[in-house]
């Protein structure tokens, strides 16, 4: 007998992580241009920068289902493109070749070397490649190093040797690079620290005398052997190595970066040959002149002709240009000069095309254009002759520079990035169709508050007012040969306006159009005619022509066709050769194009009993004279298909098929869209219903059969359509309460449906201008033209700058505002910053020596923190509370700075029963002089602010001291629950302080970090010990809070949410998402007695509460969930568990509702694990079971790989799945999982 788990979830990534581990530039396509390869989370992405579009374009992206640690590239002599080498947690060295035609990474080598997982002695933490591509070295943090030799065999194949070992026990590795030695034996340099002598020395002296060494390893290609060639003690604080170019006339060697120094080393050098530079420090009134800088990242760039330079970034974000003065390969001097200040990056890539890409640690990733190489700017230059070679020798004048705005670089594009997400809430204070996702992101000065919506970003091109409200818009060409549209036809209220598109848009006269009527349709017809369909007939105008630059047209013959008396035209469908009209009487008349371009009415006609709402006809297929089918939407809830090409008996307008609907259709359209079918495209019938439902079906081109139907609710208004081209592919805009786009996803070729981030409009048409292509639409009395930016990203993001790193936030949805608490460690507070600036200004005023002191900028003025960050000051905190209005003002509306070195640690929006109705308070937990490792503070408190009725201002009420920093606050039964240290207490608000009403001492083992509630139940999360269920008993005096159930597994909880009364879902610091459930009996018993005596009498079990919760689901997400919420994501959608990860991941867990579906997905996942093995070489099951075995969760990201598999593989997998599933049905099931619950 099979047993079923009670719950199963489908995990989907809505937005992949955007935190970059590593980024490198190289030519991975073999096109002679450079691309950027980035590793974000478990995703490898290939980006292209093109000058034409002046920005990024994603070429390819794939999830490797492994933790990517380092990426590298290599190219053997004679190769045409760079290969990719990746170290992950798979215990394997994997190399890829990007195949541009197949659009995939092809695995070239797959070498197992160790255990899986990120471990101390399993190599993978460091990766170094010989610049000539002959060898790869990988190393672990301690002891192990492996070298692989790459050789070419035959024309194309590259073989890899078995690994050579270069282990050294009890040695830590700080950095590893491949040296540039030309075609000599490959050489690697490592920064090592041998701590063996300190292991047994109990006096502690040996630790002080440990030395860090720069070690050269030479790979002897002749002997197939690796030797430790040379080593030299270097600066004890060194942590980063950079390669110096080698070969003929180039110096070779290495730059060693450490605390306040960058030193050039060369093999077998003497002390006097070292070249040392100190790292310049910032000058400014708020800067500490003694603070030393470190290099955190850097890149080497070689110019044509052998010259080279480095761009090195310090932790402040300042980038320096380092040049080496080395005539004939002997380094005489190294020079350093301030270049520009960029946001702190993990990697900086310089492209030969003159771009600089900064993969920022926090916030948007930025692309810059290199305007100059920094030779012209008048920043001071420092060279190595100014500094002693011994790093311990402090006898030199520290170099200073003055940071300034960008001069050598120009920002071109910022790629929106949610990373890091510090908090998230899904809510709908803006009262839109679908809820919005609000997140607090970033760190330091680059912190932001973002609102993310599921919508396609559009680019507004033209906006112009109209004389009155318009209800319809069309564009048309004048002849069939025209490449661009010439006329815009607008239907105003019982009036038609014709505009001509030229250098500018102007009203055209004498076009032959009937102007004093409504227009139903406009079509370029036959060779050179245009027809206008209006309620009273069809006007056929022959050869409209405009003289050059004129708005007055000439035309030939006008023919009017009028319908039978007392009937009007209610709907029409047209293409270049066919016209169908529906009359108010229920008749459909059909016309074709005659040889002379005139309208020829067919003898047959259709007469229906019900009234006709809409007609649709596809474009004439290439090579045919007519389209084969017409769709008719009738008021009796049906759509009927009629044939237009003669059937076997030579008849036309025969009913082919009928489809019943749930509501009368409002609009129809038929087009061919690119998809995954073997032909590459299919004909689709799009049906819009009065009820706001959109239905898309395949309309078989030959037989007219309707199949493969998908439905979705779009909005509460009738749906209308227009056919357009988006990104060069056919697409359909569906208009209801908001516009939607049905299009083909450029990467997966799956049909997508996404709302547009645009105002609602009632009519739109495709626009093909000579200058641009887009969509023209009318919205009340405005004419707008827009185009699509990027069809890959189905979310749009608005951001508002915050002051410091946001920690937590809470929404006040009635007023549409959010309260964000922010704090910045080791940063000077706002008041002391201002004080120092004022002091400097004052000193200036006194001296006032040489008039204008600086170039236009008043000296001492604070640098903008978004680019330059805040001045550091050890032990100090800068902290504030900000009120953000993301809906109306889209800005920060109020700020409270915390004083006395206090930092805000928690926030809650509280309502106190004792303080009267409709009064809301903001409770903020603070800690003074907070320090971590060890955790220390001098005092802690709760501050209460009264919120003004409009939710935009805060008035300080009182502050109550606490024993421990209150890290968790929760409004509860008209009072406030506060978690301080291990204690949980219930407080009411008094006149002068908070008043304690109940206390549960030692409620959790370590520290309360989060609280959630439903009814009387409280879920208390502990920093390391998962969650504890507690119950509040208010029938006794004093009130009791009694913990009654906890967990068996220590989970370092970051966030929790109650899914139902018994079940809690949460995330932990190691990147797991888990769900625990309280047994039903325990849950019932907890609510039995009003005073909780039965619970108090229960004995604790194994040092915890009397009961334990059960694990329901567990999943490794490879990103730390920072917020989790049970919510609806779409209008009319079902509830899902939505989570946001630190690295910018947005994900959803969707509960399965059907056993049959669940069984299919389970089998599909199983087959995909074997048939489509993860690219990283990691076993998928063990990846998702990284810390704890995966339970009750199916990985939707793996399942969606099915959509991009080749046809053979798909069919073979579908054949193995039990339960009569075809690959199309599986496609549909996968599509529904995403479309009906998430996006």
């Amino acid at each position: 007998m099979t047993s079923f788990s009670t719950l199963s979830l489908y995990s989907l990534t809505v937005k992949p992580p955007s935190a970059t581990q590593d980024a490198i530039s190289g030519d991975f396509i073999g096109s002679g241009k450079q691309q950027i390869l980035t590793a974000n989370g478990s995703r490898l992405t290939l980006l292209e920068v093109s000058r034409r579009q002046s920005g990024f374009q994603e070429l390819y992206s794939q999830d490797v289902f492994g933790i990517i640690r380092r990426i590298g590239k290599f190219r053997l002599a004679g190769g045409t493109k760079d290969h990719i080498v990746v170290t992950t947690d798979s215990g394997r060295l994997v190399t890829y070749e990007y195949m541009p035609d197949e659009r995939q990474f092809k695995t070239v080598h797959f070498e197992t070397f160790g255990k899986s997982g990120v471990r101390r002695v399993v190599p993978g933490e460091y990766l170094a490649v010989d610049p000539k591509g002959r060898a790869i070295m990988i190393a672990s943090t301690e002891k192990n190093k492996l070298v692989y030799i790459l050789t070419r065999s035959g024309q194309t194949d590259i073989t890899i040797s078995s690994p050579l070992e270069a282990h050294k026990p009890q040695t830590l590795i700080f950095d590893l690079i491949g040296l540039d030695v030309g075609y000599d034996n490959p050489m690697f340099a490592a920064l090592e620290l041998d701590f063996s002598s300190a292991e047994s020395d109990s006096t502690g002296e040996a630790v002080e005398e440990l030395q860090k060494e720069l070690v050269y390893y030479e790979l002897d290609l002749g002997l197939n052997h690796i030797v430790r060639k040379w080593s030299e003690p270097v600066d004890r604080t060194a942590h980063k190595l950079l390669r110096v170019p080698g070969g003929p006339n180039a110096p070779s060697g290495v730059l060693v970066c450490g605390d306040d120094n960058i030193t050039y080393h060369h093999i077998n050098n003497t002390k006097s040959q070292l070249r040392r530079l100190a790292i310049p420090r910032r000058e400014g009134s708020t800067e500490d002149p003694n603070r030393k800088r470190h290099i955190v990242t850097g890149t080497l760039y070689s110019l044509k002709g052998g010259d080279f330079f480095y761009l090195l970034q310090t932790e402040d974000g300042d980038v320096f240009k380092l040049t080496v003065d080395a005539p004939k390969g002997v380094v005489l001097k190294t020079k350093i000069k301030y270049f520009d200040t960029l946001p702190l990056a993990t990697s900086i890539c310089i492209l030969r095309a003159g771009y600089v890409y900064a993969a920022c640690e926090t916030g948007d990733r930025v692309l810059y254009e290199l305007e100059s190489l920094g030779d012209e700017s008048d920043d001071p230059v420092f060279d190595s002759s100014q500094f002693p070679t011994n790093p311990l020798d402090r006898d030199f004048a520290p170099p200073f520079f003055r940071p300034r705005e960008l001069t050598n670089l120009k920002q071109i594009e910022a790629v929106a990035s949610l990373n890091p997400v510090m908090g998230m809430e899904v809510a709908n204070p803006a009262l839109e169709d679908a809820p919005q996702i609000y997140t607090i992101n970033g760190a330091g000065g680059r912190s932001t508050f973002r609102s993310t919506r599921n919508a396609l970003e559009v680019l507004d091109l033209i906006e112009s007012p109209l004389p009155q409200n318009a209800s319809g818009v069309w564009t048309t060409r004048l002849t069939a040969e025209d490449e661009t549209d010439t006329l815009i036809v607008l239907c105003l209220h019982s009036r038609t306006l014709v505009l001509k598109i030229g250098d500018d848009v102007e009203e055209a006269s004498n076009t032959g159009f009937m102007l004093d009527t409504n227009t139903l349709g406009v079509q370029q017809f036959g060779e050179d005619c245009v027809i206008q369909i209006h309620p009273k007939g069809i006007r056929h105008i022959q050869s409209i022509q405009f003289a050059e630059g004129e708005a007055v047209a000439t035309h030939q013959e006008i023919t009017d066709w009028t319908p039978p008396a007392h009937r009007t035209i209610v709907a029409c469908a047209t293409n270049n050769r066919q016209v169908a009209i529906a009359l108010s009487s229920g008749q459909i008349l059909y016309f074709e194009c005659d040889s002379d371009g005139s309208l020829a009415m067919a003898e047959e006609e259709v007469a229906l009993d019900s009234s006709i709402n809409c007609l649709a006809m596809p474009d004439v297929p290439e090579g045919s004279v007519r389209a084969f089918f017409m769709a008719v939407g009738c008021n009796d809830h049906t759509v009927r298909i009629y044939n237009l090409s003669p059937d076997m008996e030579g008849n036309i307008l025969r009913s082919i098929s009928v489809q019943g609907l749930s509501s009368p259709p409002s609009d129809l359209t038929i087009n061919s869209m690119t998809d995954k079918s073997p032909r590459g495209y299919s004909q689709y019938l799009h049906i819009g219903l009065m009820s706001g439902v959109y239905i898309r079906s395949v309309l078989e081109e030959m037989t007219g059969e309707i199949g493969d139907t998908r439905r979705r609710f779009l909005g509460p208004e009738p749906v209308t359509f227009t056919r357009i081209a988006a990104g060069g592919e056919p697409a359909v805009i569906a208009m209801t309460s908001r516009p939607w786009l049905a299009y083909t996803h450029p990467r997966t070729s799956v049909l997508q449906l996404t709302p547009l981030n645009y105002i609602p409009f009632k009519s739109a048409w495709n626009f093909d201008g000579s200058a641009f292509k887009g969509v023209i639409c009318v919205s009340s009395s405005e004419l707008r033209i827009f185009t699509f930016n990027n069809l890959l990203d189905n979310t749009t993001c608005e951001s508002i700058s915050l002051r410091y790193t946001p920690r937590k936030f809470v929404g006040y949805h009635d007023q549409g505002t959010f309260f964000v608490i922010q704090s910045e460690k080791d940063t000077m507070g706002a008041s002391s910053r201002q004080h120092l600036i004022d002091q400097a200004d004052g000193a200036m005023d006194l001296e006032h020596t040489n008039g204008d002191t600086s170039n236009g900028q008043p000296e001492g003025n604070e640098l903008p923190p978004t680019e330059f960050g805040y001045p550091k000051a050890t032990g100090q905190w800068a902290s504030c509370i900000q009120v953000v209005d993301p809906i109306t003002e889209k800005a920060v509306v109020y700020t409270v700075e915390l004083k006395d070195n206090k930092s805000a640690v928690s926030v809650a929006l509280a309502y106190f029963e004792s303080r009267g109705e409709n009064e809301y308070y903001l409770a903020v937990g603070t800690a003074k002089d907070l320090q971590f490792t060890p955790y220390k503070f001098t005092s802690a408190s709760i501050q209460i602010y009264k919120i003004s009725p409009n939710g935009r201002e805060l008035e300080f009420m009182h502050e109550t001291d606490m024993d421990d920093p209150p890290l968790a606050l929760l409004p509860f039964k008209g009072k406030l629950l506060i978690g301080t240290g291990t204690d949980l207490a219930l407080y009411d608000c008094g006149m002068k302080s908070m008043l304690r009403k109940a206390l549960a001492p030692k409620c959790v083992p370590n520290r309360i970090v989060g609280l959630k509630t439903q009814g009387s139940r409280i879920i208390v999360s502990d920093q390391t010990e998962s969650v504890t269920y507690a119950v509040h008993k208010d029938q006794v005096h004093p009130n009791r809070i009694i913990p009654f159930a906890d967990d068996t597994v220590p989970r370092h909880t970051t966030c929790t949410e109650m899914v139902d009364y018994e079940t809690t879902v949460g995330g932990d610091k190691f990147g797991n998402i888990w769900m625990v459930r309280c047994p039903t009996k325990v849950s019932e018993a907890s609510d039995e007695s009003p005073e909780g005596l039965n619970l108090i009498q229960d004995k604790g079990f194994l040092g915890g509460t009397p009961n334990r919760v059960d694990l329901v689901a567990h999943f490794f997400a490879n990103d730390i969930p920072t917020a989790i919420q049970r919510t609806v994501l779409l209008s009319g959608g079902e509830r899902v568990v939505f989570w946001a990860g630190l690295q910018g991941t947005l994900g959803a867990l969707i509960p399965f509702t059907s056993r049959r579906q669940h069984k299919m997905f389970q089998q599909l996942e199983l087959h995909l694990r074997n048939e489509d093995k993860p690219l990283s070489g990691r076993d998928h099951l063990s990846y998702r079971s990284y810390f704890t075995p995966v339970k009750g969760v199916i990985d939707g990201d793996l399942v969606e790989r099915f959509l991009v598999l080749g046809r053979d593989k798909r069919e073979s997998i579908a054949g193995q799945i039990q339960g009569a599933w075809s690959s199309e049905m599986i496609d549909e099931a996968i599509w529904n999982m995403r479309a009906l619950y998430a996006f």
Partner: protein, 83 residues
């Protein structure tokens, strides 16, 4: 007897190959140091965890990484005196 010798040899081979395989003589200090080094190595090896800690400490990831590595030298203090 031969089996016992063989088992002993295998254990020694494993001990030289992997760090942290203890023996009957492993002291508390050795054991705790080993655990702490494993943890620190894991903190800096898992990119999200390193980022999480860096944000908490208000510094760059590279600085946090170097600090973790430095702490691996003697994570649980000086070794005790051998008497």
């Amino acid at each position: 007897m031969a089996d016992k010798l063989r088992a002993q040899q295998q254990l020694e081979a494993l001990q030289s190959r992997y760090i942290g395989i203890g023996s009957s003589d492993t002291s508390k200090h050795e054991w705790t140091s080993n655990i702490a080094r494993d943890s620190l190595s894991s903190y800096l090896g898992h990119p999200p965890l390193l980022q999480y800690m860096s944000i908490g400490l208000g510094q760059s990831r590279e600085m946090t990484r170097v600090q973790m590595l430095e702490r691996m030298i003697q994570p649980s203090g000086k070794p005790p005196k051998n008497d």
